[in-house]
Symmetry: C2
Subunit: 496 residues, 2 copies
Amino acid sequence: MKIDEAIGKLKELQARQVAYNQAMSMLSFDGSTSAPKNSFECRGRTLSFLSGEVYKSFINKETDDLLNYLLENKDSLDQITFRIAEEGREEFDKISRIPMQEFMEFMQLQNDANHVWETAKLSNDFASFEPYLAKIVDFKKRFANYRDPQKKPYNVFLDDFEKGYSMDDYDAFFSVLKENIVPLIHEAVPRGKSINDGFMKISYPVDKQRLLSKKLVSIMRLDPDSFAMAESEHPFTMGINKKDVRFTTHYYENNLASAFYSTIHEGGHALYELNTADELIYTGLDSGASLGMHESQSRFYENMIGRSREFTSYIHPHIRGLFPSQFADVTADAFYRAVNKPEATLVRVEADELTYSLHVMIRYEIERMLFNGDINVAALPGTWNEKYREYLGVTPPDDSTGVLQDVHWSEGMFGYFPTYALGSAIAAQLAASMGKAFDYKSDVSQGDLSRVNAWMTDKVHRHGQLLKPKEIMEFACGEPFNPRYYCGYLISKYSE
Amino acid sequence: MKIDEAIGKLKELQARQVAYNQAMSMLSFDGSTSAPKNSFECRGRTLSFLSGEVYKSFINKETDDLLNYLLENKDSLDQITFRIAEEGREEFDKISRIPMQEFMEFMQLQNDANHVWETAKLSNDFASFEPYLAKIVDFKKRFANYRDPQKKPYNVFLDDFEKGYSMDDYDAFFSVLKENIVPLIHEAVPRGKSINDGFMKISYPVDKQRLLSKKLVSIMRLDPDSFAMAESEHPFTMGINKKDVRFTTHYYENNLASAFYSTIHEGGHALYELNTADELIYTGLDSGASLGMHESQSRFYENMIGRSREFTSYIHPHIRGLFPSQFADVTADAFYRAVNKPEATLVRVEADELTYSLHVMIRYEIERMLFNGDINVAALPGTWNEKYREYLGVTPPDDSTGVLQDVHWSEGMFGYFPTYALGSAIAAQLAASMGKAFDYKSDVSQGDLSRVNAWMTDKVHRHGQLLKPKEIMEFACGEPFNPRYYCGYLISKYSE
């Protein structure tokens, strides 16, 4: 084989993956946004079938040889081609140990379980979801064992979502957070009780909230020709490529903060995808460097921007314009304090910035117990409630606001949650570095995010998966990742 | 090969087609409803790629042999399997003569041309669309020639959309219509000038119109768990299967009739798909028997039901409830007259029942000229405007309301339009037959469509593609298709 021929074959392979990914992503997206309920059965069959097609066209000796040949000749490859081959090799090794039949069955199971979870959450019925979740856990354990029988299953998953991270790394990370944040919570939460946020939970008609979301994405400078918003039970972002990014939000009439911060959060994810470099389109490298890195962007925009004094002051008159009676007596300061009220609550996505990491830590500890064999699926609701009592002093009145609240497990995404806390910590470090480059808070107070976006694009977004997270941190901050920035940021904000 | 083995292989083939069709349909649906503008490029690549996959997996000697074997042993097949094989044979013969590369290129071209058409229509710019349309016409001519060099290309397309119909058949059909309808138009249109429909074109806020559409689909008894509505430039229905049917509508603030009748029209299409027999799901036979038959359902519900005195009287108080000021002085009779005002207008989808067939006839004649070589693509706007002057005495002020108004040509669907007129005529014959079975107008006056739907399901919907249109007409009406019912219906309605 000649190198040019091999590169040509790699490109063909890549084009296949791009096409199948787009088809499967759009089916899932439609399933979460517009599809009628009864559509789930056929969608499950189709997703399972397509995953089989992907498997067959990718997992074979030809691909194996091609990837080996390319990586053996890596000096002849440009950086993009090298990274495609490297990622391909990793993906191949991940999937090839799983038998195709099980791979397809799992795809179908994900679709079915997700459908059952949605109904179970609405009707507070963990029992109906339990057998599906048990099957998912079995599959995941088996998959982990196929892939690396030497490794603990949970470490396999942690590494999937954040390369190079194991339980040891997360234990160390969370222990720094615990040490710094728990005393702060004990101090701030009781003080927070005096903060009035009742006005955020009166009636805010949804059509007006939609207008506010539009205003937010326009401030964030999301290109309306390349992105679209939809609505779903659980907000998420899906990037097909930099010319086609979607995100969803969820409006609740009696909760202004929910869609407001979901929109900014998902908008942060969307900016990452939209601002990857042009030359990465159709390469499979046009997405975030890792989940933690991706989450750093959503949480940077949500918290460092969206929950800052500067931004809340800037947006306050716009909100008052849309909701003159609801905001008649609400000052900018009252709004700032309401959206930063530290509070021990039940639902992660509605949590304030300070207690957020504890919600994540609870999930991390439960997942670890589940895969280390300390508990089984049936014990999840009880364990969940205990942990909430232990860490936050609150007990969920039902499973809908307890163990059923998140979509992740229904899709088999164990090991995903800890990247949320990691992302928050990366965000704080990036913000500190940006602050050294220019006075971004002054831009934010004018509602002008052009320099903020440009800095993030240069330091993070444009690289897509061309650089590894560690390389990005060095490039953006001049030093490795360090959770102390996050602790410092929270201490300074909540000691105020 | 044993017969059981062959049937198993056919089922496998069918499952492939179902999966690919669903994926491609959802991509197209998303493209017409939610996708951001810049997404069209990648979607075109993906659709083209997937069409190549379908081609490869279907067009090969194995399929050819399989279909031959099955049809040679048709006595061993049940009715469903026989019809799958028969339809497969036809599809195979249609596609196999087209080289795969051109098949894929055409799929990409359709996507691109559709995108360009949308912009061209909005900006009244035929020139930008012309080169795409010219390419489409070239492809279609070439395809027709590959498939049957003995046959005139336009006859190939007419047969595609309504099996067994050629220019001779449509000439005969349209001459009956012309003979009966043109004199009626000459009489009714001048009389219609005195009918006031100005109140239909004042401001009707879109969110309220959406509620009205919801009311309509509930009256039509469309199962909300199996169908969903969306919005697009050009309303259409897409049936994945009986558990997943979508249709779109388009709201105009200053036109109450537009979305109102689009919704009922597309709802009629949707009912057909939703009410196909359970055993037809995943067989590829779970759709309409032909385009004309499908259109008979949309036009039956739109006109025989939706524009009847009984239905307009029934729905009138609901409209007044939603739009109390706009409908303050509008009686049920005034509403009935407004939505039945015969008028020589420019836009087919907004046309009244009487002049509608002339809009179709104009398109039929233009398509015939185009493919018989009498005119070229550049001459379309001029020819269009001449025909409108000749038949309806009106001249489009621009191409947006002229030659660019319909989506069909941008997708290469030549020969499709005449099925609209055919469908209207079938609808009238079905209505006459239903009227002999029970007094359906009395049901309609109560807003109760349960018996109407049940009759249509029994006579038409449930058979899907198991019966041919001719068999359905014999089963439903006890006689062959006869356009005199349609003429009689229009004469009786418009002589009133």
